[in-house]
C-alpha cells in the first residue's frame, strides 16, 4: 500500500478523475485511513474550484475589434512564406502516408518485392545476343582471319621468305622489317 509520499503525486489526478480504476483504488484506500491526506484533498479541491470560478479578467468588449486586420496589415509587409518544391512534395507525401498508412505501405512493399524479383531475374539471364554457335563461329572467323595472317607470317619467317616480301620493307629503304 502506498504511503503519503506515494499518494501525493496522484492527488490532482484523483481529484480531476483522471486515474484509471486500478490506480484509483489504492489512493482511495489510503485517503480512507489517512486524515492528513484526506484534509489535503479537501483543500486542493476547494482551491481548484475557486480558481475555476474566478471571473474573466476585465477587458473592453471592443478590444479585439480590428485584431485580424491589424495582424494581416503587419504581414502585408512580409513576403509570403513559400515552401521550396521539395518540402512541399515531402509534406504532401507525408500527409498522404499519414492519411492512408496501410494501403501506402502495402503498395510500397509490393513494389519493393517486384523490384527485387526483377533484379534477380535480369541478373541471371544472359543478355540478348546471337545464338552461341553463331558467336563461336564469328569469333573463330575473326581469329582465323588474323591467325591466318599470323600463321602465314610465321611460316614465311620460318622459310626465310619474309624478307622477300616488298610490303614489309620499310619505306625508303630496301631493308626488310623484322618481326620481333
Amino acid at each position: 500500500m502506498p504511503g503519503c509520499d506515494g499518494i501525493r503525486d496522484r492527488l490532482m489526478d484523483f481529484i480531476e478523475g483522471e486515474l484509471s480504476a486500478e490506480e484509483h483504488r489504492p489512493v482511495e484506500a489510503h485517503l480512507r485511513r489517512c486524515p492528513q491526506c484526506s484534509r489535503e484533498v479537501v483543500g486542493l479541491r476547494e482551491a481548484l474550484a475557486r480558481v475555476q470560478a474566478l471571473p474573466e479578467p476585465a477587458a473592453s468588449a471592443h478590444l479585439l475589434d480590428g485584431f485580424a486586420a491589424a495582424v494581416q496589415g503587419r504581414l502585408a509587409a512580409e513576403r509570403p512564406r513559400r515552401l521550396p518544391f521539395w518540402r512541399k512534395a515531402a509534406a504532401r507525401l507525408d500527409g498522404f502516408v499519414r492519411a492512408r498508412p496501410i494501403p501506402t505501405f502495402s503498395a510500397a512493399a509490393v513494389l519493393g518485392i517486384l523490384l527485387v524479383i526483377g533484379l534477380v531475374r535480369t541478373s541471371g539471364r544472359p543478355q540478348v545476343s546471337p545464338a552461341p554457335e553463331v558467336l563461336v563461329v564469328g569469333d573463330s572467323l575473326s581469329m582465323a582471319q588474323h591467325l591466318d595472317v599470323l600463321e602465314q607470317f610465321d611460316l614465311l619467317e620460318d622459310l626465310d621468305l619474309l624478307e622477300q616480301l616488298p610490303f614489309l620493307r620499310g619505306p625508303g629503304n630496301n631493308r626488310p622489317l623484322t618481326l620481333s
Partner: protein, 181 residues
C-alpha cells in the same frame, strides 16, 4: 464546411497569405484570453497576442504538424508572455483586478467573496512563471498534461508537478486568508 487548420496552412504556404486570416480569427479570442490571464493587462495581452500570430506566420514553414496548430500557437504565445513577465517583473505586489463580477449586493458575504477572489488572483500572479503558465493552460485553456508539456517544452511529469505545486500554494493562501479573515 470550414477548412481544417492544416488545409489553411497549406494554402498559406502555397502563397495565399490572405488565408492566414482564417487562423487568426479562429484563435484570436483564445490566445488573447491566455495572454490576459498571464499578464493581467488587457492592452499588453492584445499586443502579445498579435505578436504571437505574426511570429507563428513567420515560422509556419517549420510547423511539422506533429502537434496541433493550437498547441503550437499557444507555445509561441506563452513564450512571449513569459518573456514579458520576466521583463516587467515587479518587486512589490500590485493591486490585482480579480475580474468582472456579476452584479452583487453589498452583503458582507459578497464583499468577503470579492476579497477572497482578489487574494487568489494576487496569489496566482505571485506564482513562479512555469507554475502560473501550467495552471492557466490547465484550468482556463483545458489542456491535458501532455499538451501542456508540449507548450512549455518540458516533461509531462514536470507539468504535472508544477500543476500540483501551484494548486497547493493557492490552497495554503486560501487557508491563510480564511484564518486572518
Amino acid at each position: 464546411m470550414p477548412q481544417s487548420d492544416s488545409e489553411v496552412i497549406r494554402r498559406v504556404l502555397d502563397g495565399e497569405t490572405a488565408a492566414y486570416e482564417v487562423l487568426v480569427r479562429r484563435y484570436q479570442q483564445t490566445v488573447f484570453r491566455l495572454a490576459q490571464r498571464m499578464t493581467r493587462n488587457a492592452e499588453d495581452a492584445r499586443d502579445l497576442a498579435q505578436e504571437a500570430f505574426v511570429q507563428a506566420y513567420r515560422s509556419l514553414a517549420g510547423f511539422r504538424g506533429h502537434a496541433s496548430f493550437s498547441t503550437w500557437l499557444y507555445r509561441i504565445a506563452m513564450n512571449l508572455c513569459l518573456s514579458h513577465l520576466k521583463a516587467t517583473r515587479r518587486e512589490d505586489p500590485v493591486e490585482v483586478d480579480a475580474g468582472v463580477a456579476d452584479a452583487r449586493d453589498d452583503s458582507l458575504t459578497a464583499l468577503l467573496a470579492d476579497e477572497r477572489d482578489r487574494a487568489l488572483a494576487a496569489a496566482i500572479e505571485q506564482l513562479p512563471p512555469q507554475q502560473r503558465a501550467t495552471l492557466t493552460l490547465r484550468v482556463h485553456q483545458g489542456l491535458s498534461h501532455r499538451e501542456i508539456a508540449e507548450v512549455l517544452d518540458c516533461a509531462e511529469g514536470t507539468a504535472k508537478a508544477n500543476y500540483f505545486h501551484a494548486i497547493r500554494t493557492l490552497q495554503r493562501r486560501l487557508e491563510a486568508f480564511r484564518d486572518t479573515g
